[in-house]
Amino acid sequence: MKKFTDCDGLAVPLDRSNVDTDAIIPKQFLKSIKRSGFGQNLFDEWRFLDTGEPGKENLHRKLNPDFVLNFPRYQGARILVTRDNFGCGSSREHAPWALQDYGFEVIIAPSFADIFFNNCFKIGLLPIVLDSKVVEKLIAQIQATEGYRLAINLEAQTVTTPTKECYHFDVDSFRKHCLINGLDEIGLTLQHTDKIKLFEQKRQSEQPWLFI
């Protein structure tokens, strides 16, 4: 997994709630059997005026000038600030893959859908939950200030604004440990191989019908 320690980057506001994974990466792009290359179709139906298809070159497609990610001032943004229940819907990990591949390292929202939130940690993309009033303020400040950057420090669990306002965020200690060290979770779990085998044997003797 990609290591994550800190990020100092341009922030972009996506001012809507309930952004679902179908919007993040539409289904026609899920036919790929690869893990990479989804960034070019991130938010495809919002970013482009035509309908995207796998293999279609973005160079020849018309961008939607009204969609925030296309504003010249937000090019190169690494932090997405958005509203409640971001990532709801399907379990497709293609959604965090697409966000990361596009260049995002951090997503800030008042709340996330469970599966999406979980998936982000598996690939080194950091989802940060901040109070909705703080998010409201950040969105307003980003919109008002060109070149607005946020500094995220995972070790200290802080988000710092250009005017040095500092917000603390919570993160599960195990997940934090894995992110900072870029650990392979499967490798970690396999350190418990004996325990898993023992558990499995007991389960098989007590509930043999689970093993037929």
Binding site: K31, C88, E93, K122, I186, H192, K195, E200
Partner: protein, 469 residues
């Protein structure tokens, strides 16, 4: 005093990082369901790391998202879909994983075939790289969707790194009105608590209205738990559960069946168990539901109208409603019954089981779809559902009414195959998500029960199915 969720959780903890109730744990997985879309990268990762599946027999695989629902004998016309399905076939063949291939009678939607085969059994942890895995909770399983990294993790270790959710009880008491179904209960609950209302919770559905539901109805309800934000939905074991499982191919038999049933009967919340949150619903007050927006929480009853953004005080909510109505092409205050449709879709892991098809057919018998309906399709949940329906003559009723009778798969629920809406087309759909572009770019989805979809097909617009019943 333990909840059903407590019991299921505790029975699967292999290792806990600490004694705290919110400790990160290794959770043992009994059943791993696999489909073609979220698995190729997991199999590739496994191979690259030189690992093998921990317990091959725990895995059941099927291609459902991409499969065509017509002319299967001619193969798959879309080369990218074909490659994805072939990749699943190859991975399963190489690793000795049980897979129902596209032309196998047992092929179908992963959440239909698991229970149908008895591969979903009470007390199991069931995972799949698909959010609607919550469906299997109808059998008192702890069942939830996972991402591809976790699919690889389960393949390699038979475990997941997990943290316990909070518990919510949704208590549905009273008697459902005629023509009102599990789908209407689900949509009604989502309308009440919102699509994030269940975030961070595992929901147990209980109450006499739930006890009265068939297993098909219970699966519909648990299926939609994810649309309320809950990763898992579940229902305690009773005679209905046990009767459904008996005799299915993967179910235990003989003495083992007796022992299993004895254990399964303990899979219910203890009297007096405490939930972190309780929501109560009066079944008698639920009318048939219709969604009008681009989130399942944007829902009202068949007697209702779409809202007027002007009357919404919260600015962010008002913006959401405004943009939803714009996308849906509906004016504020439009009565639901004045919404006309272009297409009808009966299918999906929410509503494609035999009972759903019987319900829809009972409305359609001797009737024809309205002239304004350009296409109406029925996509059975599995080859076995399809053949059962044909034995009962349901296909004849659908065909005579002007419906197309298709091969099983996910089809127009997410439109990864050729079944999709064209921009601007409006569909009454028995599926689970009305997100923008879900059924095809620019397509407009209204979620309803199979009976409501059938009634709308005949009228050409939404009507109250209770008046037809």
């Amino acid at each position: 005093m333990k909840t059903l969720y407590d019991k299921l959780w505790e029975a699967h903890v292999v290792h806990a990082e600490s004694d705290k109730p919110d400790s990160t744990v290794l959770l043992y997985i009994d059943r791993h369901l696999v489909h073609e879309v979220t698995s190729p990268q997991a199999f590739e990762g496994l191979k690259l790391a030189g690992r093998k599946p921990w317990r091959t027999r725990s895995i059941l695989a099927v291609a459902d998202h991409n499969v065509p629902t017509t002319n299967r004998k001619n193969g798959i016309s879309d080369p990218t879909s074909q490659l994805q399905i072939e990749t699943l076939d190859q991975n399963c063949d190489e690793l000795g994983i049980t897979e129902f291939k596209m032309n196998d009678l047992r092929q179908g939607i992963v959440h239909v075939i698991g229970p149908e085969q008895g591969a979903t059994l009470p007390g199991m942890t069931v995972v799949c790289g698909d959010s609607h895995t919550s469906t299997h909770g109808a059998f008192a399983c702890l069942a939830f969707g996972i991402g591809t990294s976790e699919v690889e993790h389960v393949l390699a270790t038979q475990c997941l790194v997990a943290k316990k959710s909070k518990s919510m009880q949704v208590l549905v008491e009273g008697v459902l009105g005629k023509g009102v179904t599990a789908k209407d209960i689900a949509l009604n609950i989502i309308g009440k608590i919102g699509t994030a209302g269940g975030t961070g919770y595992a929901i147990e559905f209980a109450g006499n209205a739930i006890r009265s539901l068939s297993m098909e109805g219970r699966m519909t309800l648990c299926n939609m738990a994810i649309e309320a934000g809950a990763r898992a939905g579940m229902i305690a074991v009773d005679d209905t559960t046990i009767d459904y499982i008996k005799g299915r191919p993967f179910a235990p038999k003989g003495q083992m069946w007796e022992s299993a049933v004895n254990y399964w009967r303990t899979l219910k919340s203890d009297e007096g168990a405490v939930f972190d949150c309780v929501v109560t619903v009066n079944a008698a007050e639920i009318s048939p539901q219709v969604t009008w927006g681009t989130s399942p929480e944007m829902v009202t009853s068949i007697e209702g109208s779409v809202p007027d953004p002007e009357s919404i005080f919260d600015l962010s909510k008002r913006n959401d409603v405004e943009s939803a109505l714009k996308y849906m092409g509906i004016k504020p205050n439009t009565p639901i019954q004045a919404i006309y449709l272009d297409k009808i879709f009966i299918g999906s892991c929410t509503n494609s089981r035999i009972e759903d098809l019987r319900e829809a057919a009972s409305i359609l018998k001797g009737k024809r779809i309205a002239d304004n309906i350009k296409l109406a399709i029925v996509v059975p949940g599995s080859g076995l559902v399809k053949s059962q329906a044909e034995q009962e003559g349901l296909d004849q009723i659908f065909r005579a009414a002007g419906f197309e009778w298709r091969e099983p798969g996910c089809s127009m629920c997410l439109a990864m195959n050729d079944d999709k809406l064209l921009p601007g087309e409006r569909c009454a759909s028995t599926s689970n998500r009305n997100f923008e572009g879900r059924q095809g770019p620019g397509g407009r989805t209204h979620l309803v029960s199979p009976a409501m979809a059938a009634a709308a097909a005949v009228a050409g617009h939404f009507v109250d199915v209770r008046l037809i019943h």
